[in-house]
Structure formats: structure tokens, C-alpha cells
């Protein structure tokens, strides 16, 4: 009969109305500034740069290879290489950025920079309260603002960070072993066998793993 469905609907809304005052579970709203939803591990908003150790300048993983700059779809990354090199985690001398700027008012948070970075340097942040009354300078982040310690990265993306750390530790061990072997070889009386160290152990860009973590 006409109207029976309407009455059922009315009963349903009335039940919601009364129930929302009785049981707190019915109210699904998170009252944002006071309560916050825990971010899922794979959440990503804006990129940041990881550094190891305590000094953001010395420990910065970035080698100013500019792959991220070239890959960035909205072209929001700006890098100038420094003339001075510095050693990376395996002791190899690498380039370092003099200027590393990200205009986060242009950044669209796609995460491609983090995907392509072969040095595990650029990672995705989870900070989302970025609004500001000022339009230009606030949103142009420099190297100093972008650099964040590895502990922070571990906190944000634990599994990704653990995987990265393990790989880097392995690299380091390998590099040390190699260095020791090289030192031993240098000490051994057969200099021409390996006059110069071979090509540096290439850090495999773990794109597939990153993609899995990121999504």
C-alpha cells in the first residue's frame, strides 16, 4: 500500500534521532581539531628530505641527481648542485644540493619524486595542516625546512623505513667489506690486479617496493 515504505523510513530516521543521543557509537563524526583520525601508514601529502644522524647538512641523503626535478609533473622542485662534495653513508663522495626548493603550493602530492629517488632521500610527509594567510614565501620550502631526520621517517612509514634502513645497512656492510678487501688487496703485493675501485655499488632503486608501500 502507498505510504508503508514512507512510514518505515520515518521510523528509521526516528530511531537514528533517538539512538544518536543514547549511543555514542552511532555518531561517526571525528571532531577534527580536538580529535584526530590516525593516519594510515601509506598516507602521503607532501615530499620531504631524509637525513641520517644529527646534522641535517652532513647527513642529507640527497645527492642532487635532479631525477626528481625532471620527473616532477608540475615542476615544483628546484635544485642547484653544490660544488663541494660530501661522503654518503658508504663513505663515497657524492654531490650535494646547494639549493633544494619545493614549492608546495604547486606540488600535487603525487609521490613520483619519492618513487624515482634512487638514494632513498625524498620521501612523502603526512603533514596536512599547511594553510597560511601568506601566499608566497610560506609555501616555498627550502632545504632546511625540508630536511627531516630518519627517525621521523621511521615514525611515519615504519615498514618502508625498516626496509630502507636494512638495505642501507647491508650496503654499508658490503661497502666496508669491499673497502677492507680493497685495503687487503692494496696491502697484498699485487697492485695491478685492481688499480682502481670498480664502479660504485649501485644502490638498486627499489621502485616496486616503494610503490607497494606508497599505495
Amino acid at each position: 500500500m502507498l505510504g508503508s515504505g514512507i512510514i518505515r523510513g520515518f521510523i528509521e530516521t526516528a530511531r537514528n534521532f533517538a539512538g544518536s543521543y543514547c549511543s555514542r557509537e552511532r555518531l561517526t563524526t571525528i571532531q577534527y581539531p580536538e580529535e584526530r583520525l590516525a593516519q594510515p601508514e601509506s598516507a602521503r601529502i607532501m615530499p620531504f628530505l631524509v637525513f641520517d644522524g644529527a646534522d641535517p647538512k652532513a647527513g642529507l641523503r640527497c645527492t642532487a641527481c635532479t631525477i626528481c626535478e625532471q620527473e616532477c609533473p608540475p615542476q615544483c622542485i628546484y635544485i642547484i648542485k653544490d660544488a663541494v662534495k660530501k661522503p654518503d653513508h658508504i663513505g663515497k663522495m657524492q654531490m650535494q644540493p646547494k639549493v633544494f626548493d619545493i614549492d608546495i603550493s604547486v606540488c600535487m602530492g603525487c609521490g613520483i619524486c619519492a618513487e624515482v629517488c634512487p638514494f632513498d632521500s625524498i620521501k612523502m610527509d603526512q603533514v596536512f595542516e599547511l594553510s597560511s594567510g601568506e601566499r608566497f614565501n610560506t609555501f616555498l620550502l627550502h632545504k632546511e625546512q625540508l630536511a627531516k631526520p630518519n627517525e621521523y621517517f621511521r615514525k611515519l612509514h615504519p615498514s618502508d623505513a625498516a626496509e630502507t634502513d636494512a638495505r642501507r645497512a647491508e650496503d654499508k656492510i658490503k661497502a666496508e667489506a669491499k673497502a677492507r678487501a680493497a685495503a687487503a688487496a692494496a696491502a697484498a703485493p699485487k697492485p695491478p690486479s685492481s688499480p682502481k675501485p670498480g664502479p660504485p655499488p649501485k644502490v638498486p632503486a627499489p621502485v616496486p617496493e616503494h610503490a607497494e608501500v606508497a599505495t
Binding site: 500500500m1 502507498l2 505510504g3 514512507i6 523510513g9 520515518f10 528509521e12 530516521t13 526516528a14 537514528n16 534521532f17 539512538g19 544518536s20 543521543y21 552511532r26 555518531l27 561517526t28 563524526t29 571532531q31
Partner: protein, 373 residues
């Protein structure tokens, strides 16, 4: 009536219903939220009760945009034409014992005549905006208002026939006695009154453009219809006018079917009459909000078919039921009351079922695709 009393009525009505407008906006949003398992606005002031103030500040400080191709004069006066006459509706409503601003002999006719002005205002708003969505919204609104004015008036005809007067005070007086010595003789407690009240509520919902009949302002289809090109103060005036129209028609419903300012049972008659009016008024407003939370918007053809193929015939049949009730009043045998109830309920009930079935158009047939096998 002395000028002082008249001014007192004017100021009183504007103050009470103006603040009722503010209260209803927040109450509506809170209630809708709760019915959808949300909190509703709860930020401005304790429990969000100062939200109307924030809304008012926002509305009044917004830029007033007039489209360059608009008909400037009509665009300007349309909200005034909508909002000004609505206040006149409250003049004939009896809010309490001897609390009525104007005792017109033809009060009900006055009420409906004044309501007619809002249709022109809506048309002016829609046409003067020079926007196709505005015009579509205005055409929908007019088609809807004209269609639903017929069942609205027809559903009140029964009350007028029973009270024998078009004056709203007389109609309230006709519901003043108590049956069995305790239960009020409201029109609601008769079969024709019950049916008439339901029909009246449906038609009133459509007449005041409220959900589920809010398709003149359907945001998702025609971007708020005739309100599209309005902003700031003028938009607020439209909003005010709409809510005042709802209040007026709610007050009319209270007066016609719920006994006006009379207490529901004799034992409670000691409470002030204005309190009873306000309580019934608030309850009816809650029903409107409840309906808004429950029912989805109709399509235009469903809307018009519902008015002409369901409501209008039923209101006419309801007049017949009222006649049956009236002319069987002399029956004195045992169980006469129950017989009358059954008789009138049958007169309304069978057409209700039948018309409701025709409205649905039988069971939906399986759709056949001619070209896509």
C-alpha cells in the same frame, strides 16, 4: 483596535517569528544531523546555538552580486515581494485566547490570497536573473505552487464547512469543547480531520518548497533554481521568506486541525493558551524537519502526477467523508460513533488504496531494449 495595540502586535509578531526563524535554522540543522547520525553544528557558542548569528553575519557581509544582464529592478524587488506579504499571513492567525491581530470575516481567504503573491515573487526572481537554471527553477516552483494550492485549499474546505465560517477565530472556537468531558474536540480527532490534516501537511510541504518537494531549489539538478543569482542580503531575505511561509502555513495547520490554542485534554487547560499554540507549532515544525531528513526529492512529473492524480481526488473525497460525518451526527443507536468512524474511514480509505496503486502504475515491467540485444 487602538494604534498602540496594533503596533504591539506588529512588533510582537516580527520579534517572535523572526527569532523563531533563527531558532528553526539551528534546530533543523541539529535535528537533521542527529537523524543522519551526525552532531550537526556545535561550534559557535554552547552546543552551537549561536550558529544563526554566525550565519547572519556571514550572509549580511557577503558581496551583493547582480548579474550584468539581469533585469535590475525586478531582481531587486523580488525578495521584497516574497518576504513582505508573508508577514501579513500572521495577522489572521489566532495565537491565543483573544490574541489575534486582525479578526477578518474572511480570514482564511485572506491567508490564501496573500500566499498567492509569493508565486509572482518567485517568478520575478527567476526571470529577472537571466539565467536558464533560475528560469527553470521558477517555472518548476510556479507549476508546483499552483498545483498544490488546489489540494491545500480543498483540504481546508472541510474545516470551513464544519465550522461554518471562514474566520479563523470562529474555526478555533468550533473546536473548543471537550468530548467525554476530557478529550478536546479537535478536527484532528475525526476521520475527515485526520485525513484532511495529512493531505494538508503534504500540500503545505509542497507549498512552502520544502523537501521532499524542494525541486524548485534542487541544488544537484538546477543549482538552487531561482536562488542561483542571489547572494548576501537578498538571499537571506529569500531564506527568511521561505521559513516565514512555512511558519504561516504551520500556524494555519495548528489553527484548522489541532484546535488552535486549546489544550489537548481538559485537565491541562490551565496552561496559558499561547503555550499550547507554541507547543503544537513546534511539534509540527519538527514533523516537517523529520520529513526532510527522511524522504528523497521527487521528480517533476511524479510531483505533478501526485498532486493531480492523488491529492486533488482525495481532498474532494474527503469533503464527501466530512459530509457523511456531518449528516450522520443524529444517529443515536448503540455504537453509532464506531459505525460513523468505520463509514468515513471506508469512504477515504478505499480511494486511498486505489489511487495509491494507480500512482505506482502497477508492478514495474521488465525493461526491454529494442536495439541492444
Amino acid at each position: 483596535m487602538s494604534p498602540l495595540v496594533a503596533v504591539l502586535y506588529i512588533v510582537g509578531i516580527m520579534a517572535v517569528f523572526g527569532s523563531a526563524f533563527a531558532l528553526t535554522t539551528i534546530a533543523e540543522r541539529k535535528t537533521l544531523g542527529r537523524m543522519q547520525n551526525r552532531f550537526g553544528p556545535n561550534r559557535v557558542g554552547p552546543f552551537g546555538i549561536l550558529q544563526p548569528m554566525a550565519d547572519a553575519v556571514k550572509m549580511l557581509t557577503k558581496e551583493d552580486i547582480v548579474p550584468s544582464s539581469a533585469d535590475k529592478l525586478l531582481h531587486f524587488i523580488a525578495p521584497l515581494v516574497l518576504t513582505t506579504p508573508v508577514w501579513l499571513n500572521f495577522a489572521v492567525l489566532p495565537f491565543g485566547d483573544h490574541v489575534v491581530a486582525a479578526r477578518f470575516d474572511a480570514g482564511l481567504l485572506f491567508f490564501f490570497a496573500i500566499s498567492a503573491a509569493s508565486e509572482l515573487a518567485v517568478f520575478m526572481a527567476g526571470w529577472s536573473s537571466q539565467n536558464k537554471y533560475s528560469l527553470l527553477g521558477a517555472m518548476r516552483a510556479i507549476a508546483q505552487m499552483i498545483s498544490y494550492e488546489v489540494p491545500l485549499v480543498l483540504s481546508t474546505v472541510t474545516v470551513v464547512m464544519m465550522a461554518g465560517s471562514l474566520s479563523l477565530t470562529d474555526i478555533v472556537d468550533a473546536q473548543s469543547s471537550y468530548a467525554f468531558g476530557w478529550l478536546a474536540r479537535w478536527n484532528l480527532f475525526t476521520p475527515w480531520g485526520l485525513a484532511g490534516f495529512g493531505l494538508f501537511l503534504i500540500a503545505a510541504t509542497a507549498e512552502s518548497n520544502r523537501s521532499p518537494f524542494d525541486l524548485p531549489e534542487g541544488e544537484s539538478e538546477i543549482i538552487a533554481g531561482y536562488l542561483t543569482e542571489y547572494s548576501g542580503f537578498k538571499y537571506a531575505l529569500f531564506f527568511l521568506g521561505e521559513y516565514l511561509g512555512l511558519f504561516a502555513v504551520t500556524g494555519l495547520g495548528v489553527t484548522l486541525f489541532l484546535g488552535g490554542w486549546h489544550a489537548p485534554v481538559k485537565a491541562l487547560a490551565w496552561a496559558p493558551s499561547i503555550f499550547w499554540f507554541a507547543a503544537k507549532f513546534a511539534a509540527l515544525i519538527f514533523v516537517f524537519i523529520w520529513a526532510r531528513a527522511t524522504l528523497p526529492r521527487l521528480r517533476l512529473d511524479q510531483l505533478l502526477a501526485f498532486a493531480w492524480r492523488f491529492l486533488v481526488p482525495l481532498t474532494l473525497i474527503n469533503i464527501a467523508a466530512a459530509a457523511a460525518w456531518h449528516y450522520s451526527a443524529w444517529w443515536g443507536f448503540q455504537g453509532a460513533m464506531a459505525t460513523r468512524w468505520v463509514l468515513c474511514a471506508a469512504i477515504i480509505g478505499f480511494p486511498y488504496v486505489w489511487l495509491g496503486r494507480s500512482l505506482r502504475g502497477g508492478s514495474p515491467a521488465l525493461r526491454k531494449y529494442t536495439y541492444a540485444e
